[in-house]
Amino acid sequence: MVIKKIAVLRVPHKLNRSFSVSFLLFLLLALFGAFMALPLLYAVNNAFKPLDELFIFPPRFFVNNPTMDNFYDLVALMGNSWVPLSRYIGNTLLITVIGTAGHILLASAAAYPLAKYQFPGSKALFSIVVLSLMFSGHVTAIPNYMVMSWLGWINTHASIIVPSLAFSLGLFLMKQFMEQIPNALLEAAKIDGANEYRIFWNIVMPNVKPAWLTLMILQFPALWGTDGGNFIYSEKLKTLHYALGQITAGGIARAGVGAAVALLLMVVPIALFIISQSSVMQTMATSGLKE
């Protein structure tokens, strides 16, 4: 029995694995991996295709003569159009940066007391947050519109930024992650005379950096891809995703530029994920929903 146990421990990763099943499973993975990756590869290729290749029949997947023309055209279009494209990019950046940073700050501030202390209402508040994970924003769309109009926020960037600050998934993940911070650390700081705000800012926040990046990865793509929804009407306040719609509506002549903007929209969130992947996985390990 003991010998068997040792033998098992020596080759832990080969445990209970038959080669044929492994082969089939990895084949499945490769197949679906291709299904996931091909459309994105296609979008990348498209951005570098000259116009004649974009409209070739039968359509070709890979680019033959890669060119930067589409990006030059994009820059040219930026200068010439009624509202310069840089404006759309600026608006998108403003919304995304404020929305993401603000969300991380507010969600962390709210998560810290919920994760570490019990006080009247703490359990109820957290269960409301969990409950709100169970329905989508569409449910509240109509009252939200009325609230926005009462606040006078229609056609301002605040209408996009402010509601996104209280995204409930972010608070949930942050709270779950903060639970792992050892209480002794907080007690020690308290004994040293730090008040709650100092503890939050100087001890808790630096310890939850992986969770910051996770909240960023969840919030950033949503805001980066926002088209302004029903709230923004002025051309000069609109976002990049909206501009993409306008450009592709320009028809065949704009197909190349459209592909270039699409690449721009896609690349930024993916690059961010590559940078932050290991932190995100660390946070997700604590994401479980307890009964």
């Binding site: 694995r17 499945l28 989508s136 009252p143 609230v147 209280a166 709650e196 793509p221 992947q277």
Partner: protein, 318 residues
């Protein structure tokens, strides 16, 4: 830790006097006032844009309101109209369920299966595969790529491919033909659905206690399927619950993809869902009371499905 236990013990000591419960509460609130202050900015926004709107929406569903006149109380009339007089709502309901029944479980299982296979790979390959599977949900708003794939003319990728290899002679209008729309929206939704729960599953799998798997092998677990059912799934129950919440909510809320691919409204309402119906009445017809009734029903369906699924998931591995 110590502070917590003493705090919990305190109310028991003071309990006998009924009047002092309010005093205790007030004392507790003042003692913890810093925590309330820390939470207040988030909670203020959260309540303004999420909690109060849900309640408000429920109340509004009993009124007729067009944003111009003062709301008029109509009782259950909105609901009666929805279920008895609105054929398009019935279609939307049917499409949404059809859609959710397929994409919900399929995407949930796909998230888990792929996470499970990826977990066996070496760390570098694992990171790459995670990126590949997660990338579509990161670049989610670029699903117009699929418009090119399913474009109705010969330049559409699918049409071009099928014509080139002789499967058909004439291009098919994929996105305006009622037969195909729902299936296409489902495919694209699945492409986008390996999101947060997929990441949670991978992370959860990596944290399964390895010694438990070894102990299981000693106790007679013979293959990976038994290991999955008896060891891995039960120890991942919290992640499974979390993943279920995210996938169910996503599957029932489908609208953006349907609008981007099939238009709004879609041909003969073939890709009409509860959410697009809600948008129709809320943002085009401005029948806010009626739209609120739709939103309330959507809310009920979402919460109900989630609670039911959680009940089922508690049985996993038993």
């Amino acid at each position: 830790m110590q502070a917590e236990t003493t705090r919990q013990a305190m109310p028991n000591l003071i309990r006998p006097e009924k009047k002092s419960r309010w005093a205790t509460l007030r004392r507790e609130v003042t003692k913890n006032k810093h925590y309330y202050i820390l939470m207040s900015p988030y909670m203020l926004i959260f309540f303004t844009f999420t909690v109060i709107p849900v309640v408000f929406s429920m109340a509004l569903s009993f009124f007729y309101f067009n944003m111009l006149e003062f709301p008029r109380f109509v009782g259950w009339q909105n609901y009666a109209r929805l279920f008895l007089n609105d054929d398009i709502f019935m279609m939307a309901l049917q499409n949404t369920f059809m859609f959710a029944v397929i994409t919900g479980p399929v995407s949930y299982i796909a998230c888990f299966i792929f996470a499970w296979i990826i977990n066996e790979l070496s760390p570098k390959v694992r990171a790459l595969m995670t990126l590949i599977f997660y990338a579509p949900s990161l670049s989610g708003n670029v699903f117009f790529i699929w418009l090119i794939v399913f474009s109705g003319d010969r330049y559409g990728y699918l049409n071009g491919f099928l014509i080139k290899f002789g499967f058909m002679l004439e291009p098919i209008q994929w996105l305006t033909d009622e037969k195909y729309i729902l299936a296409i929206v489902i495919i694209v939704q699945l492409w986008l659905s390996l999101g947060t729960s997929f990441l949670a599953f991978i992370a959860g799998l990596q944290n399964v206690d390895k010694s438990m798997i070894e102990a299981g092998a000693v106790d007679g677990i013979k293959n990976r399927w038994q290991e999955l059912w008896f060891i891995i799934l039960p120890s991942m129950r919290p992640q499974l619950m979390f993943g279920a919440v995210i996938q169910i909510t996503g599957a029932l809320a489908v609208a953006d993809i349907s609008i981007a691919l099939a238009g709004f409204p879609s041909v003969n309402y073939a890709a009409h869902t509860i959410v697009t119906h809600l948008m129709d009445y809320g943002t085009i017809r401005f029948e806010m009371g009626y739209a609120s009734a739709i939103a309330t029903i959507l809310f009920g369906i979402m919460i109900g499905t989630n609670k039911l699924t959680q009940k089922l998931l508690r049985k996993v591995g038993e």
